[in-house]
Symmetry: C2
Subunit: 340 residues, 2 copies
């Protein structure tokens, strides 16, 4: 009774069938939880499967069913690590729970790279694709690519003019941040924006401009960062040469961190001289110096909804939420009324 002969070939369904004294089809039925099976037969087969440590061949399965049980994830950025990673973990969880595997392809934001990554996913027969691509050019590249014949969803994109899109409400989040500053009494607020081609950055800027405009405040041309603390620091060093503002709304927490660094270097006190608001609420924001007032995004919810949407479309019974996820203001220690 050698349960594991040292053969060169892995056991297949017929080997199992032979050992169990049934037909290969019966084994298949066991594997696929067919209802019409005598309990003893099922158990017998299961025992043999365990004894031979048989594993169904996914390739063969995929070939005959033309279903890969794979969801592709296209990550079109290396920046914004916190959000992307959180979303990724959540997607993996939700997908696995629904019986799907994940295939990941990364790319830069140029057309060629995006469609290459997409081709890779399609080549793997992904049944659906999640695009974590916060840049509008990625969005465009995707639109330009031959139409996808599979369900897909774009994350972190507020544009809803094609396919599906899920994101935290960036616009409202930015308004929340700006309104907070205005409520405190600030009248001249600078916006330190993210890269112009990022949809989120654009939405946050629009939210800021709208809120400032609604209060008929002076609108300063937004300054540009690239999401990194380094860029926040760089822009911050220029900014401190001016003395005409009392608050800064940063497009993300890292930029805010860099800005805080520049302000501290220039001996500008926060929040006494200048108030600062960030965006994202990364876990570290609570420990910045001073702890950062910011806008919280529920990235995990984004990931969950993405998979829910795709599963619904694949007919596997996922839920379908189309409304935007609200952002939330978290007040800490970088905001205070301006000095008189």
């Amino acid at each position: 009774m050698n349960s594991q002969s040292s053969s060169s070939r892995a056991p297949n369904i017929r080997d199992v069938a032979r050992a169990a004294g049934v037909s290969h089809q019966t084994v298949s039925r066991v594997l696929n939880d067919s209802p019409n099976l005598r309990p003893e037969t099922r158990q017998k087969v299961l025992d043999v499967i365990a004894a031979m440590s048989y594993r169904p061949n996914q390739a063969a399965r995929a070939l005959v069913t033309s279903r890969s049980h794979t969801i592709g994830v296209l990550v079109a950025t290396r920046a914004a690590a916190y959000g992307v990673q959180t979303i990724l973990y959540e997607i993996e969880d939700a997908a696995r729970y629904a019986g799907y595997r994940l295939a990941i392809a990364t790319s830069s934001s140029d057309d060629e790279s995006v469609s290459e990554a997409l081709a890779q996913l399609i080549g793997q027969a992904a049944e659906a694709v999640v695009v974590v691509a916060p840049q509008s050019r990625v969005f465009d590249a995707l639109a330009r690519t031959a139409p996808l014949h599979i369900p897909f969803v774009m994350l972190d994109s507020s544009r809803r003019d094609a396919g599906h899109s899920i994101s935290v409400d960036q616009f409202e989040g930015a308004r929340l941040a700006t309104a907070h500053l205005i409520d405190l009494g600030h009248r001249h607020i600078v916006h330190l924006a993210g890269p112009q081609d990022w949809i989120e950055a654009e939405a946050r800027m629009q939210g800021f401009l709208r809120e400032v405009g609604d209060h008929e405040l002076y609108v300063d041309p937004p300054l540009l960062g690239d999401w990194t603390a380094e860029s926040g620091y760089r822009v911050g060093r220029e900014l401190v040469k001016r003395v005409d503002f009392t608050a800064v709304f940063c497009s993300n927490d890292l930029i805010a961190l860099g800005l805080l660094h520049a302000l501290r270097e220039a001996e500008v006190r926060v929040p006494e001289d200048v108030s600062v608001v960030g965006f994202d609420d990364v876990p570290e924001a609570a420990h910045f110096s001073p702890p950062l007032t910011t806008i919280r995004q529920d990235f995990a919810e984004v990931g969950r909804r993405a998979i829910g949407l795709l599963l619904a479309e694949l007919g596997s019974g996922g839920a379908r939420h189309t409304e935007a996820i609200p952002a939330q203001l978290v007040v800490r220690a970088t905001t205070a009324p301006p000095r008189l």
Copy 2:
């Protein structure tokens, strides 16, 4: 000449062959870059392939060749986002360059979860596995699992007693950090360690203890954090009640951030009253308050070597580096000689 009939079935190799007036085997030869083909024949086939937008079926290919061209990545943690993400990106790049795809499975650190994730990867017929699992229990769980018959490599693990392991030299890195503090004149250094079951945390602690021991300095029992800024803050608040130390070596940058927060709150000046050293050199460390002296790890190199090792073992010509990757001291503004 309808290049794309609205048929229900995707074109297969025989459809292409028929349209090109050749045999299916000739098409296969074109797909696999066989040398013995008349250039005109090859071109003709390529034209037809493009016209029909034919894509080879990976499942069929995998079935017949029993090669999946997939490398599995087992991520057994949700913490330590920066390192993991950097490694992941680099692995994806290197793998793609070598013609491999990535399958990702995440897990917690308990046995069941790890072997479940591993089973998932094996089920996908991964040809090799990269285990990003810095916890010793994951290591153990893996060892306890039925022996893997495929090449695998563990990252961020300094234990080399089974399989392959690639990591930055944590032990030396910790010595570097500690030596820096001792050189400055510190005689009572506290170590704020990471979770005990993490191999890296253990190695860093050992490095610290060795260096301190070599100088016959007083050794304080290390305090424990969980990698997060929050834990650094929490421990830091207890720590400031004591006044018997002049320097703290933190097991990672986030813990250091939390500690800096606690110190600031207690009006302990850094580096005048207390020096602080971190570990990792996350991009934000340069903008902490004050900018953090820390140990830099080349995570990208870790990822590259991992794939190189696996490819070498798979016979695809990757390079084989077995030596540890050196860590590097980055001196910024949180370290200074102790006050007299």
